[in-house]
């Protein structure tokens, strides 16, 4: 397994787009979070400050999705899947290594983006009528750790679907549709019952409930429960991807 990890890590880091996409993920996350924090005022009433500061991940995840889809889609697009499986015929280990490497990359940029969002967000916040953004209390740490996990889970969901679809473009559109189009479509659903249910279990919305630090009783899903739903989606996608990877000809 060590060799597979080493090879997959080399593969990921030696493609020029990886560094750009990772940097963009962090930068977008921080930028949006900081812009929002700079715009918060005491007159807006009480706010869930950590959630606001970390909200940038909703936009930063786009480049992460692209990265994860390319990590496997490009293997099929450029034909390197051949050399990959010739060099590492054990498909489970290749898939597991890729999963770990992509998840680690996502978690690393996620941690960077999360930490920077919180610290810079605290600095740029206006002080009138607002308490400072807490950095080390329990709920904030949960939100921060949860955001890192969220990004990693989104990357894994993308990786699983891209493995199943074997085309980075198609995979990107599928994942982004699941993340973004679902909430837009549900917005117009006429039945209140279904609307609430769809909103509750949509992967992005459910996963992001981990960012809430206040008023938890009002959430449709508790923070960890919500992240758990996203983890279920990611696991299902990975399982589907691996099953097809295992069964199909390369």
């Amino acid at each position: 397994m060590r060799r597979e990890l080493h090879a997959e890590w080399t593969k990921l880091r030696t493609v020029g787009s990886t560094a750009w996409l990772l940097a963009a993920t962090s930068a977008l996350t921080v930028l949006v979070g900081v812009l929002v924090m700079a715009g918060v005022h005491g007159s807006d009433g009480p706010q869930d400050l950590p959630k606001l500061a970390l909200g940038g991940v909703q936009y930063g995840q786009v480049t992460m999705v692209v990265l994860a889809c390319l990590a496997v889609g490009a293997e099929y697009g450029t034909g390197t899947i051949g050399p990959t499986l010739v060099a590492m015929p054990n498909r489970f280990r290749v898939f597991a290594a890729k999963t770990l490497v992509v998840a680690a990359a996502a978690a690393a940029v996620g941690a960077l983006g999360t930490a920077a969002s919180l610290v810079i967000g605290r600095l740029v916040m206006s002080s009138d009528g607002l308490p400072p953004l807490p950095l080390s209390d329990g709920p904030t740490l949960r939100a921060a750790l949860g955001t890192v996990l969220y990004l990693a889970l989104v990357a894994l969901l993308s990786l699983g679907l891209a493995t199943a679809l074997r085309d980075s473009g198609v995979a990107v559109i599928t994942v982004l549709s699941i993340l973004y189009a679902m909430p837009i479509a549900t917005r117009l659903v006429s039945s209140e019952h279904w609307k609430r249910r769809l909103e509750k279990y949509a992967p992005m919305k459910a996963g992001l409930s981990i960012q809430s630090t206040k008023n938890l009783a009002a959430l449709p899903l508790s923070p960890w429960h919500g992240l758990g739903i996203l983890a279920l989606y990611a696991t299902a996608c990975l399982a589907l991807g691996f099953a097809l990877f295992r069964l199909r000809d390369a």
Binding site: G16, T78, G82, L85, V86
Partner: protein, 307 residues
């Protein structure tokens, strides 16, 4: 170490890609794997490498299936498609991740780069900017990385310049001379002339011939006689009467089968047909191949001078 292929079958929808393919690739020689496009060469190689699953039969490397090999790159080096490299990756990095997957040391990169003749500066460029010939060399370098006992190269001559073709022939021979088993596929028999020791000919998913090169030529020549004459029509009439089968192969050239050279000369002299040159016909490898695969070609030329 050998490659043993036994009764391989593979269907793609309605197409029977492989229909019971069996052959052996022995150590210490170059085995040519020839057949028209679409005959099943690549499919066979992909099944040997565990990329595709066979519907029936088995393919073993050194007595084991490829996917169960402990150290696959040290056992088998393969190049299936020269363009199988990410265009955004540097050539050296392409080799690097493969080396990492087998736990090979970094110095092995320099060694194989030297063997295939890719310069240091070329190896530092991104694969997207490579010519087809450079990609071919990179692919061969990747196949050589693990210093494997078995080599499988799919159409390695494609895209190489004449100098490169001479180089790869020499490389294949020297690798075989070191005791390795080498399997080289091609759709042009001419490319393998002088390189391959054995030939496995495949057509429409079946093995048509599995033989040494001299045996194949012998069989294809079939005791025919070639002659030149200024009166081909008369010659045909005379020779047919004498019991031969005559085919026109040019404006003034004929081949005769069913008569040996002596009887041909006698018949022509008796019929007072002028002729300038007469010899026992020696088939080229190309001709032998054409003969063998005539029925097996998927894409027949619609028109043309060949009657």
């Amino acid at each position: 170490m050998e490659i043993e292929v036994e009764g391989l079958r593979k269907r793609y929808g309605p197409v029977n890609a492989l229909d019971g393919v069996s052959f052996t690739v022995r150590a210490g020689m170059v085995t040519g794997f020839v057949g028209p496009n679409g005959a099943g060469k690549s499919t066979t190689m992909r099944i040997v490498l565990g990329l595709d699953a066979a519907d029936g039969g088995r393919a073993l490397v050194g007595g084991r299936s490829y996917r169960s090999l402990r150290d696959p790159l040290r056992a088998v080096g393969a190049m299936l498609d020269a363009s199988s490299a990410h265009p955004g990756r540097r050539g050296r990095d392409h080799l690097r991740w493969i080396a990492h997957s087998a736990g090979l040391p970094a110095r092995r990169l320099d060694e194989v780069l030297a063997i295939v003749g890719l310069s240091e500066s070329a190896a530092k460029r991104r694969v997207g900017g490579y010519s087809l010939g450079m990609r071919q060399r990179l692919g061969i370098a990747a196949a050589l990385l693990g210093d494997p006992e078995v080599l499988m190269l799919d159409e390695p001559v494609n895209g190489l310049d004449p100098e490169g073709i001479v180089w790869i022939r020499g490389l294949l021979k020297s690798l075989a001379a070191e005791g390795r088993a080498v399997l080289v596929s091609s759709h042009l028999m001419g490319e393998l002339e002088g390189t391959a020791d054995r030939l496995v000919v495949i057509g429409r998913g079946r093995i048509i011939a599995d033989t040494s090169v001299p045996e194949l030529l012998e069989a294809a020549s079939g005791g025919r006689v070639a002659l030149r004459t200024s009166a081909p029509a008369d010659a045909m009439a005379v020779l047919s009467r004498a019991g031969g089968t005559v085919a026109s192969v040019g404006a003034d050239a004929l081949t005769v089968s069913g008569l040996d050279a002596q009887s041909t000369v006698a018949a022509l002299s008796a019929g007072r047909v002028p002729f300038s040159e007469i010899s026992a016909h020696r088939a080229t490898l190309e001709e032998a191949y054409m003969e063998l695969t005539r029925d097996a070609t998927e894409f027949h030329a619609q028109a043309g001078g060949v009657a």
